[in-house]
Subunit: 351 residues, 2 copies
């Protein structure tokens, strides 16, 4: 590095890409140059970075010449094809798609939880799934002290996780329904999952499908939460199970999380204290004042918010909590930029 | 009964009351006359019943002279004051508020589950909480065959449960936010709970508070699900715990339900078959065709819809499912009218 890194954002015009650019505007990473890459269709668009206009360039293998760090968020197919091209040209890739996440040669990193895994990177680091990341940040301080035997999570996921067009669809469906269009007549072309056969309205609805269905009638999103948790926490013995649900929220994923800890000695007060003191987490938990995390108030923050921590009625080592974070930031763009910052701090950017 | 019953609807102009009138239009209950009662403020309003106009009358103790069956849904305070007046005058009361639910002298009834409890009524029968009812209908066929050791439920509850004004608030907040009003500027006067101190926007948000906070930082809504389940299933040993969340849906409560059964021999296929054959339940469960229950498509149906039934990843006797029903119908108005029909069928309306 001389005077800073050359950083590329792949998928610069997308819901996550634009947030990556925002996060880079305030990064502690020394920056020399930021290059914005996207599909041919988006090439030529102008975006603003720190007050100057940058032109989006078409993504090509040669785009990565001279790039030190490449942040990818343009779909699994693009990562599969272009991440190796970037690595070949000397860049470290932080990939926000699911493509490399379960590859044993690719670290899957939430900096607050397992930054040590970065030491083994071979050019590609994977950013976990949005719904996994915030749960990891919330649970790691508890796991470190009391261990985790079991996690049952039901998610309340925002539409922005499905991209800019899904956001527009939610808004236009909501307007149409309020103005009198019958639910059966609402136009739906994207959710629950762009790549699946049928589409359903999300406005004033709750869809228990995120991503396609996979083995045993779980969805891929649910398997991501299960498998990624075990990889990030480096513990295949943790019992994890998820029900992933899309709700008509623009941004901010919420999660109803039930855990059973392993060791004796835990209490609601101790768990609150651990959460309050942990990095990346803000405790918002005062029922007497109606203080608890909310999707709407999480927007724009890099933090994960935790509240409604309470003991299970019947199981001594069981606790329930409500975990909320801006899915586009800690769930995607911020975690990616934070990984890049951590690589720099740990002197792991190969140049 | 001569030529049918005289039925009164108390709270006739409310979100549930208007649905009670709809349900009475198609009831199997022999009807002689329907009397609509409400507060002084609503008295004089005209409502349609089977094509004829009925005038809403002011609720007074004397309103119940000659009434055989009174359906109450006007708030706990009204039930406390007027239900005994109705009983005193010979009416049987079906009360949709929480006021009498845990009274040991008051049967708490979901007809598909425990209609035998009606035999012990002393004039008042309580209609359970909306979120409890649909869970009971879904789980009873499983409990009967395999027993239930434990239930963990996270709810996705619609705004209509909080009344007509809450529905209007959701719509106006949604419109304002889409048209550019910042989340912090959205006007909120009702949710999460009319009787509590602070109010938050529900549009594009998820609020982990329904009703006021109670013991141990659980909400009253969560305690209702816990306590009512044990009373309806007549089994204090069932472990039940709930996280109740309001989401921006107009009508149709959804629930992510985890259960552990007691006996050996269960399987996903057997549980699907039990649910499919049970009264009041429709199995909507074909992931290969993206078939699962949805709040939007549940509206207007008396059924409880169950889908996404799958085995827990780690626990042999653990199952997850997604349970949806129209909270104003099976969760309130229909269950009340159904109780009245069942009282008639069992010859338990005292006249």
């Amino acid at each position: 590095m001389e005077n800073g890194y050359n950083v590329a954002v792949v998928g610069a015009t997308g819901a996550v890409g634009t947030k990556m650019i925002e996060m880079l505007e305030n990064t502690t990473l020394p920056l020399k140059k930021v290059t914005l890459l996207a599909s041919k269709r988006s090439a030529g668009k102008e975006l603003t970075f720190k007050g100057t206009k940058l032109i989006v360039e078409e993504l090509l293998p040669e785009s990565f010449e001279g790039i030190d760090i490449a942040l990818f968020s343009a779909g699994g197919g693009i990562s599969k094809q272009f991440a190796p091209e970037a690595v070949k040209r000397g860049a470290v890739v932080v990939d926000n798609t699911s493509h490399f996440r379960m590859d044993p040669n690719v670290p899957l990193v939430v900096p607050e939880v397992n930054k040590q895994a970065l030491k083994n990177h071979q050019g590609i680091i994977a950013n976990p799934n949005c719904s996994t990341i915030q749960m990891m940040v919330a649970l790691e301080p508890i796991r470190k002290v009391y261990g985790l035997d079991r996690i049952i999570v039901s998610t309340y996921q925002a539409v922005s996780g499905a991209g800019i067009n899904a956001l527009e669809e939610l808004k236009s469906q909501a307007l149409a329904h309020i103005e009198g269009t019958h639910a059966e007549q609402l136009e739906a072309n994207i959710l629950p999952c762009g790549g699946d056969k049928k589409h359903y309205p999300i406005a004033f609805n709750a869809l228990p499908q995120i991503d396609v269905f996979s083995d045993d009638d779980y969805t891929s999103e649910e398997w991501k939460m299960i498998n990624e948790t075990k990889k990030i926490m480096e513990d295949d013995a943790i019992k994890v199970v998820a029900t992933c649900v899309r709700i008509p929220v623009l941004s901010g994923h919420s999660e109803s999380v039930y855990i059973e800890v392993e060791k004796d000695g835990s209490s609601v007060e101790k768990i609150k204290q651990l959460v309050a003191e942990a990095p990346g987490v803000t405790l918002e938990d005062d029922p007497s004042q109606q203080i608890y995390p909310q999707a709407l108030t999480s927007i724009g923050s890099k933090e994960t918010f935790v509240g409604r921590i309470r003991r299970d009625i019947d199981i001594d080592k069981g606790y329930h909590m409500w975990v909320v974070s801006d899915n586009l930031l800690k769930g995607a763009a911020w975690n990616s930029v934070q990984i890049a910052e951590t690589l720099h701090e740990m002197d792991l950017v190969r140049i």
